[in-house]
């Protein structure tokens, strides 16, 4: 317990260690061999994960007796820009999930991009994102929260386009950056107005969280998420997006619960995310896009948990999403790494491992005692009676069916790819997905062991949660059946259904794209108006040029007067005027 207490009290190390690791990686990484470089990167991750885990144990069994035991370490208190760090059980749990997924992504990166120039900076950026996330979880003041929020967003933007700044991942990174700048600004505006105008501030913070979590209609960056490097994609699929957003909402949960309209808004956003995510995910032929829509779906579920007044459910669902979708992205990336020529594995053994791990990650998170399973239980236990309760149950079932269906389809699509037996098998690529596949049930079991059945909403909620698990299995089976017998089982009706769902999914995608395109086109048009029309045409071309020509004209007239030329002009003009007058009089 002494060690655990030290870990809880020295919580600043949670972000200092990865930050130091990032500095060392960036400064010395080019001179280090792969082995030392990986060791340095994994040390930052491993330390953070271990320390957060031990701190969590202390918060559970320490003097505070299971209740969050805040430890405040204040560096400089100058309102409102004080740097105050504060760790509690919620923050510790979020950091464990964050560091775990980042560790798995780091393991994958060590194998997939370990031979590329600049790999040490790639690893350093992952460490910066981890440090920022840990800072966000330890935030005790608005400034620290904003630093963590923006730091992680910037690190992800640079990671996304690390090797392709202009195309592919670079474009996704720019979209992400655009959305996350908006999110950061909304958060800043919200934090500063929360004390003055509570409703306005709360609305802005909710919008910031929705943008970060890619919820409808702020999901415009999702369609391209498959273009980014696989480790970055694994992080964007929850650990660096939904998890921080849910953590933010957990921090402001008292304000949300005391405001009926805010609760309704979160319910609407959550249900829209579940519905649209499920419909769109079912229609995607590309694995990466399908995973992106599952991300919206599970993020929506986490939002529902918060709306029902159970932050633990939201946190469990967000953690489960980060672990499951991160693992699925890594597992699918074993076979479909978008970065061509980076040593991605297409050999048969790797494919076999990839399919296996993909299925494991997906199912183990949804089956007991996976984290998502526990989240299902708590969500359904917290849901109020009546319409909302039924909607929550429907959402869980939809989520289960859609996840199982998509997982099955992705595995089948991976298996249908042409084999390239000639490429060598890259060792180590499967470590990350395996780690997360093991982590999903292990963490769930640990939570159950520490907290008992109450961790999953109590014994009454278990059957309902099992319904969600059953729905996942049913979805997988249904997908398999439909996939096998597409031309024999209800072909016309299925085709009609697919048309409708495809239209809905496209509408969702179009909505997301429209939000991006309209904003960008409007901003560019206004920019051109300011730059060209106002600056160059009106001010330079009209105002300045008119003034210049006026002065020039006066000068020329004066010069003409001085030279005597004007006399001749005047003589001609006078003669012409006299002639005109005489002609008129005649």
């Amino acid at each position: 317990m002494g060690v655990a207490r030290f870990m809880a009290e020295a919580h600043v190390l949670l972000w200092i260690v990865p930050a130091i690791s990032a500095v060392l990686l960036s400064g010395l990484g080019a001179r280090l061999g792969n082995r030392w470089l990986n060791a340095l990167a994994l040390a930052g991750n491993g330390w953070t994960c271990l320390q957060a885990l031990l701190a969590g144990v202390y918060f559970l069994y320490g003097p505070a007796d299971g209740v969050g035991h805040p430890v405040i370490w204040s560096w400089m208190t100058l309102e409102p820009f004080g740097l105050v760090f504060n760790l509690d059980g919620t923050g510790a749990w979020a950091i464990v999930a964050l560091a775990g997924v980042t560790l798995a992504a780091q393991l994958h990166a060590a194998a997939s991009v370990g031979r590329l120039a600049g790999r040490h900076r790639f690893a350093a950026l992952m460490q910066i994102g981890l440090a920022s996330g840990a800072m966000l979880a330890c935030a005790g003041s608005p400034l620290v929260m904003l630093v963590g929020w923006e730091g992680q967003a910037l690190a992800a933007a640079f990671l996304a386009g690390f090797w392709e700044p202009e195309a592919g991942g670079g474009r996704t990174g720019m979209r992400w950056l655009l959305f996350q700048r908006l999110s950061g600004l909304l958060l800043m505006l919200g934090l500063f107005t929360l004390g003055v105008e509570e409703d306005l501030g709360l609305g802005l913070i909710l919008a910031a969280a929705a943008v970060r979590a890619g919820q409808v209609p702020f999901h415009g960056w999702l369609p391209d998420i498959g273009r980014v490097p696989v480790p970055a994609g694994a992080l964007l699929h929850g650990a660096w997006s939904s998890l921080p957003a849910v953590l933010l909402l957990v921090r402001i949960a008292p304000w949300v619960e005391s405001s009926p309209w805010a609760v309704q808004a979160v319910v609407v956003v959550g249900l829209a995310g579940v519905l649209l995510g499920a419909l769109a995910a079912l229609q995607q032929p590309v694995a990466a896009k399908a995973l992106g829509w599952l991300f919206v779906l599970h993020g929506g579920l986490a939002f529902l948990g918060l709306a029902f007044g159970d932050p633990v459910a939201a946190l469990l669902l967000a953690s489960g999403q980060a672990v499951a979708l991160g693992g699925m992205t890594l597992a699918a990336g074993v076979l479909t790494d978008p970065l061509a020529g980076l040593g991605a594995v297409l050999g048969l053994p790797a494919r076999f491992r990839g399919r296996l791990v993909f299925g494991l990650v997906c199912t183990l998170s949804l089956l007991p005692p996976g984290l998502t399973f526990l989240g299902f239980g708590r969500l359904l236990a917290a849901a109020p009676q009546g319409t909302l309760g039924k909607l929550a149950l429907a959402a869980v079932l939809v989520a289960g069916v859609a996840t199982g269906w998509v997982a099955q389809r992705v595995v089948r699509s991976l298996g249908a790819e042409p084999a390239d037996e000639g490429l060598p098998v890259q060792r180590g690529l499967a470590f990350g997905p395996w780690l997360l596949a093991a982590a999903a049930p292990a963490c769930g079991a640990l939570v159950l062991w520490l907290n008992g059945p109450a961790a999953a909403g109590g014994e009454q909620a278990w059957p309902l949660a099992l319904l969600g698990s059953g729905a996942a299995l049913a979805g997988a089976g249904l997908g398999w059946l439909v996939g096998r017998g597409r031309r024999r089982v209800l072909p016309e009706r299925l085709a009609q259904t697919q048309l409708v769902t495809q239209w809905l999914a496209d509408t969702g995608l179009g909505l997301g794209a429209a939000v991006v395109q309209v904003s960008v086109v409007t901003a560019r048009a206004l920019g051109v108006i300011v730059w060209r029309v106002l600056g160059e045409w009106i001010m330079d071309g009209l105002v300045v040029a008119t003034a210049y020509r006026t002065v020039q004209g006066i000068g020329m007239a004066l010069r003409g007067l001085q030279n005597g030329n004007v006399h001749r002009y005047m003589l001609v003009i006078t003669a012409a005027a006299l002639g005109l007058v005489l002609w008129m009089l005649r």
Binding site: R181, A523, R524, G535
Partner: protein
């Protein structure tokens, strides 16, 4: 004369002495001329540090020195520094040192005129900050133009045209300032005086300050700040002039336009700027928003950075025009952030564009792969321009945000003003540092020297320090701006004057 008074007098005189020495040296001794250039600018910074150490903060001028010049017309040599003045003079001295140390040894075809101009421009700006007599103030306001004309006229492209445009625009602002000041003196009545404290005390008892007077004085300052729609000189000037001139323009001239707004207009017309403060707040917000939007469509690195600086200074002017104390403190903080960040950004852009031989963003890539330290240090300035928390830009923007009284429209414009330049500058930075290494086109001998990287690192540290420790900037300026803005405090300021 006490030590602080001697140091105050030395502040503008040291660069002038350096300029004299450099001007007397034979033109062929380029190395000695350069050494004089950066030694004199470093000496001015050392004088400022010494002065900052010996003066005591107070509600009025921290240090003051006054001697009669033309008593019949009430003109005197009145030099003084309050909290705002100390801060701005430190900014000018630091930016001048950065420009001298980072660029003088590497300027192609360096001439004696260049060094002399740089030092005289620094002296003019330092004198402008310290001038508490309005004739002296306008004299420095105009004197600064001449060295800038010669400094800018040696640009890589159309530097002479840019210099001419800058001078013509600045002369226009000077004319407006002259007319406004003469009107203010006439309005104050009594024995003619140009002393700022005396004049502001007389105007404070007037029932009303005419809006036209405020307009004349403010527009003169806004021209220097390149507020919309008077911004066209800036985007041309910084794109076509040498790096040192661009650094001084972004780090000195633009913030000093804001300083003029506080120092002269705020004192003479009161904290609400004669009742038209709201108009200037909206103009500042429009400048910030317009600058950010225009930055988004630029494909020339320096022009893009010019619009980003414009947006930041516009936001600062909006903060300075707001009635809230927090917003005014934020405006001053943003001026410092814009000064430090602008100097760092134009140093970065100058080095990169000089090495590549192009300013177009499509031609620039791969800096991260070859020079990670230089690229990394520039990120602090980029982050500050994007108002990323932990940097100076964030603190100023947050304080302005706290004091925003513009309702939904104001908050929306503020959000746009922060979003657009942030996205533009991060996008441009990523294009320059990312991508493949262009080893075949980057000339090895034109790459940044260690000295330039060190200067950029120092500027980056200053940006982070003022962001993480706002107290380094806030307390002095807070008291200073309070003294500036409050009519009640004018009397106290007068009592503190010897």
């Amino acid at each position: 004369m006490t030590t602080p008074q001697a140091l105050l007098l030395s502040l503008p005189c040291v660069p002038v002495a350096g300029a004299l020495v450099a001007g007397l040296l034979p033109a062929r001794r380029g190395r000695a001329i350069r050494a004089v250039g950066w030694t004199a600018s470093l000496a001015a910074l050392a004088v400022w540090v010494w002065l900052r150490a010996v003066v005591e903060a107070g509600p009025g001028p921290w240090v003051s020195l006054q001697a009669p010049w033309v008593p019949a017309f009430g003109i005197s040599v009145h030099l003084a520094l309050d909290g705002t003045g100390v801060l701005m003079s430190g900014l000018v001295a630091a930016v001048a040192v950065a420009a001298a140390v980072a660029t003088l040894p590497f300027e192609p075809g360096l001439s004696r005129v260049h060094v002399v101009s740089l030092l005289l421009a620094e002296a003019g700006m330092l004198g402008l900050v310290a001038a508490w007599d309005l004739i002296l103030f306008v004299t420095f306001w105009e004197v600064t133009l001449i060295p800038f004309y010669f400094l800018m006229g040696r640009g890589p492209r159309a530097g002479a045209a840019a210099a001419t445009r800058f001078v013509v625009t600045s002369v226009t602002s000077s004319v407006l300032m002259w007319v406004g000041l003469l009107w203010a003196v006439r309005l104050a009545g009594g024995t003619p005086t140009f002393d700022l404290i005396e004049l502001s005390a007389r105007l404070a008892i007037q029932p009303e300050v005419p809006g036209s007077l405020v307009l004349l004085l403010s527009v003169a300052c806004l021209v220097r700040m390149a507020a919309l729609p008077l911004h066209t000189w800036l985007t041309v000037a910084v794109a076509d002039v040498p790096t040192a001139a661009a650094m001084l323009l972004a780090g000195g001239v633009l913030p000093l336009g804001g300083f003029g707004l506080v120092h002269v207009v705020g004192r003479l017309c009161g904290p609400d700027l004669g009742g038209v403060g709201d108009w200037f707040m909206w103009l500042g917000l429009a400048t910030a928003t317009g600058g950010g939007l225009a930055a988004l469509v630029q494909r020339d690195l320096k022009r893009l950075l010019a619009f980003v600086c414009l947006a930041q200074v516009g936001l600062a002017s909006a903060g300075l025009a707001m009635p809230s104390e927090a917003a005014r403190a934020g405006g001053l903080h943003l001026l410092v952030a814009a000064g430090l960040g602008g100097a760092a950004l134009f140093l970065f852009a100058g080095v990169v564009c000089q090495a590549r031989g192009s300013q177009r963003l499509v031609d620039l890539a791969g800096l991260w792969a070859s020079h990670p330290f230089f690229a990394g240090m520039a990120f602090a300035a980029v982050a500050s321009a994007a108002a990323v928390p932990g940097t100076a830009g964030f603190v100023g923007a947050a304080q302005v945000l706290q004091g925003t009284g513009g309702g939904w429209l104001g908050v929306a414009m503020l959000a746009l003003a922060l979003l657009c330049p942030g996205v533009a500058v991060v996008w441009a930075y990523r294009r320059v540092v990312g991508g493949s290494y262009q080893g075949d086109v980057w000339s090895a001998e034109r790459w940044p020297r260690k000295r330039q990287a060190v200067v950029l690192a120092v500027l980056a540290l200053a940006i982070l320090a003022t962001g993480l420790f706002p107290a380094l900037v806030s307390p002095g300026t807070g008291q200073g701006s309070t003294a500036v803005a409050s009519a009640d405090t004018r009397g106290q300021a007068g009592e503190g004057t010897p």
